[in-house]
């Protein structure tokens, strides 16, 4: 009698596709799947039926699902069972799991409805369970579902699970369905072994691994967008002797929030529809920290805008770039339950709207005050994300010095005098008159006039530059400068080998031009917030400077392309 015949004879597992190892009850002779340790009929221990074991079946790499909540000792597990048995699956209260889920492991089909309830598994004397904290409110006490760290996490898990079970019924060949990427149990990564092994288009059903007690999140993503995770990470972690689950979980959480933000930016839709509602203060802190981390990157255009506002009167187009970013942050803040931030973002959004509705082409002083006040609230609520001082302190000195050094007759002595007079910020130079500078510094009036002209010209540049999210205008200008620098450098190198008087004069001129171009590049890089890159480039030879700048522009172009 074949195994399938026996299964069908019992009326369990109709439509089963998997193959199982069979064990026989020593008392009543009933046959059970390999993972069963006790007979469902009489409760006696069961044993394997060696004559029924077909070699290929025995070798089938399908891990059996333990029937009992508590795993039994290893020596009692059947042939082909992995040594490290995954922990028992969660059972949602009220869900009709069917007996087949306990008898047939590896089945990829939904259980047949109306199947008889499984025989109660009599487990070996259970080990005392580890201390379990009070279950979150959405999980009934005594449920077999493992404990979750917080309500937020359990809710997220529920969302993921519901997503999973709804998709599990999707017929094969249908468009990619969402898949549950099981979170890891402590010390064991299951991504590669189970989720990764599931055939594309199907779902890993019924045994989403239970997150460990610290596991914050499961992911619900279309298969097509995320390749199965390999087991390398776990192996690496094991090799390093470090627990990988925690790191991986943290990474996953980070990825998840990041993905949420990505979707905000791309679709302008709420990023994380099932975002967790965090109640536990510890988790709240963690979530907020993550939010801050990622929001810092997403708030960059807003910070850029506010820095531009501090430095001059930027065009109103900036609002078009900032408003969506602020709105997205607002939605996420709401989902993250950050009411204070929501309020501050609302205030800033209102200020943006008012600025947008003004008739002026640029951001005028009045609207500037509004925006600055609104932004002040944001800085107060989340200084790590919105504070400008640090960013400004990094960018501004480079811009000021690079602009000053472009003025003829401004060298070390003049610079020292200017700084000694306290003229260190762009704002000061924008407001200063030539006479003021000459008086304060003792520089010749002609030099002071040139300084004022230089800064006013820069101010006009800022105000006239059409902003966009990717700072394409500035990068376009940078590309032009890089091309110019390349030509100047090539000419310089060519002429450097010549000894004629004419060549010497040309060489001097080209050297000067090259220096001026680099100063202009410095200004642009600082404006783009690429202060570290500017620092690196400064230490390079001209050849390498040009190469590095070209690489940067190429990278940015690629980023743009991938975003669009």
């Amino acid at each position: 009698m074949s195994f399938f015949t026996r299964l069908f004879r019992r009326g369990e597992g109709g439509g089963a596709e998997g193959e199982v190892i069979v064990k026989k009850c020593v008392k009543c002779g009933a046959e059970w799947e390999s993972a069963a340790q006790f007979c469902g009929e009489c409760g006696a221990p069961i044993k394997e039926d060696p004559e029924e074991l077909v070699p290929e079946v025995a070798a089938a790499p399908v891990p059996p699902t333990p029937p009992a909540p508590a795993p039994l000792p290893r020596q009692r597990s059947s042939v082909g069972t992995p040594a490290a048995t995954p922990p028992p699956p969660p059972e949602r209260p009220g869900r009709a799991t069917g007996g087949s889920r306990r008898k047939v492991a590896g089945s990829t089909t939904a259980p047949s409805r109306g199947a008889p309830p499984p025989p109660p598994a009599r487990a070996a004397p259970p080990k005392p369970p580890p201390p379990v904290p009070a279950p979150p409110p959405d999980i009934p006490a005594g449920s077999s579902r493992p404990r979750l760290p917080s309500g937020a996490l359990s809710e997220l898990f529920s969302a993921a699970e519901s997503e999973l079970f709804s998709s599990a019924e999707t017929p094969e060949g249908s468009p990619p369905v969402p898949r549950v990427e099981p979170a890891q149990t402590s010390g064991q990564s299951t991504n590669g072994s189970q989720a990764g092994a599931a055939p594309k288009g199907s779902a890993t059903v019924g045994t989403p691994n239970i997150p460990g007690s610290h596991e914050p999140l499961t992911l619900v993503e279309p298969l097509s967008e995320r390749p199965p995770k390999d087991a390398k990470a776990g192996k690496r972690a094991a090799r390093d002797g470090k627990p990988s689950a925690e790191d991986a979980a943290y990474k996953q959480l980070l990825d998840d929030v990041d993905a949420g933000f990505d979707s905000i930016v791309r679709t302008d839709e709420p990023a994380v529809p099932d975002a967790p509602r965090v109640s536990d203060p510890g988790d709240m802190k963690q979530v907020q920290a993550l939010f801050q981390q990622i929001a810092t990157s997403y708030a960059r255009p807003v910070r850029d805008f506010m820095i531009e506002i501090k430095w001059g009167e930027p065009p109103k187009e900036w609002i078009g770039i900032c408003a969506p970013a602020v709105s997205s942050l607002r939605r996420s803040a709401e989902q993250m339950e950050l009411p204070e931030l929501c309020g501050a973002l609302d205030g800033f959004l209102a200020a943006l709207e008012r600025a947008q509705s003004s008739n002026e082409r640029a951001i005028t002083d009045q609207t500037k005050d509004l925006l600055v006040a609104g932004y002040g609230d944001l800085v107060r609520v989340m200084p790590d994300v919105f504070a400008l001082e640090a960013e400004q302190r990094r960018r501004e000195p480079i811009i000021v010095q690079s602009l000053l050094l472009q003025v003829p007759d401004v060298h070390k002595v003049a610079l020292d005098k200017i700084y000694a007079a306290g003229l260190t910020t762009l704002e000061m130079f924008f407001l200063a008159r030539a006479a003021d500078i000459a008086d304060a510094t003792g520089l010749p009036p002609a030099t002071a006039k040139s300084i004022v002209e230089k800064f006013q010209s820069y101010r006009r540049d800022i105000e006239s530059a059409k902003p966009d999210k990717g700072r394409a205008a500035e990068r376009g200008r940078l590309a032009t400068l890089v091309g110019q620098l390349k030509r100047q450098h090539e000419d310089y190198e060519r002429i450097a080998s010549s000894w004629s008087a004419d060549a010497t004069a040309k060489k001097k001129r080209l050297r000067q031009l090259r220096t001026e171009t680099v100063l202009q590049v410095n200004v642009l890089l600082a404006r783009l917030g690429e202060v570290d890159r500017q620092g690196r480039i400064e230490k390079m030879s001209y050849d390498n400077k040009i190469r590095e700048l070209e690489r940067y522009l190429e990278e940015e172009k690629r980023k743009d392309a991938s975003l669009s």
Partner: protein, 408 residues
Amino acid sequence: MAALTRDDILKKFGLGETFERADLRGLDLSKASLEGGDFRRADLEGANLEGAKLRGANLRNANLREAYLTGADLRDVNFDKAELEGANLEQARLLGANLNRANLEGANLTGASLAGARLTNAQLEAANLGGADLTEAALTHADLTECYLGAAKLQGADLASADLSSAKLEEANLAGARLDDAELTGADAHGANFAGASMVKVNLSRTILSKADLSGADLRHATLADAKLDFANLTGAKVFGAVATGALLEGLVCESLDASTEGDGSRRIPKGSVLGFLTNRHSVAPEGMGTRYFGQGDVLRNAALEFGEGASVQIESRFERCSIALGRGSELIVGKAGVLAECQIVGAGNITIHGQFVERESPGIIGASQIVVSSRGSLVGAVQQPAESTRFAFEPGCKLRMKILQSR
């Protein structure tokens, strides 16, 4: 690109290996400790040596073009004939370093410490030495054209025969420096301090010396034509033989001038006469000591000429078999068209040859204090030095067939 890595270098250095002629281009050796290393003729173009410790290292003839040496410890390093064009040596410590004949064209030496460094014949064209410390540094014959030396400390530095044309020396401190025969045409030295500097025969044509301190400076035989000396301090300056044609003297501060031949204060021009002295007599020379000029096209044969102390003689003519006697401190310039064929010059004068000199009998020149042969000049003959020895300066390109004899 370099074949060796940073680790390789540190390892090899630890084993005492040499890096002579090694290809180390573009390497990051920042903060590396390579004291006393041998990098002769090594290629370190574009290398990053920021904060590296290279004290006493030998980088003779090494290529450090566009290298980044900011804040590096380069004390007593031998950079003789090294290529440092466009290198960044900001705040580097180069005390006592040997940079003779090194090429530092367009290099950035802002705030670098070069006290006591040797930069003889160094190429520093368009280099940035703003705020650098060059105290007691030797910069004789160095090319500092269009160099920036704003607020540089050059006290006691030797800049004799250095070329500082169009250099910027604003607020530089050159007190006690030696600038004899230096070229400062078109330089900007406003607010600079030249107090007590030796500037004999310095060319300050069109130089901006507004508010400069030239008190006690030795400007004998200096050229100050069209110089801007407004609000400058010339108190006690030695101006014998100086030429100040077209100089701007508005607001000049000067208690007195020293017009003595020897610069020993034996002839004082009091405060009240200073402006008149300088404006009315653009060539600041005592009575009866005017310039003698022998124009082009004239020929003088078998003549014996004698010029007194402090005389200035310029010859653009052709002299044949002539004997010229020069008084102490006199100046003889053989112009580009001037030819002294089979002649003899005797006396403690200063001789500058842009044209030709050929001796009649050896030695052709006896007892000259100084002989300068410019790039277009030629000298054929023997020179008999006086007891205090003759000072020689030969520009590249000059033609020489000469013998230098010790004083008898």
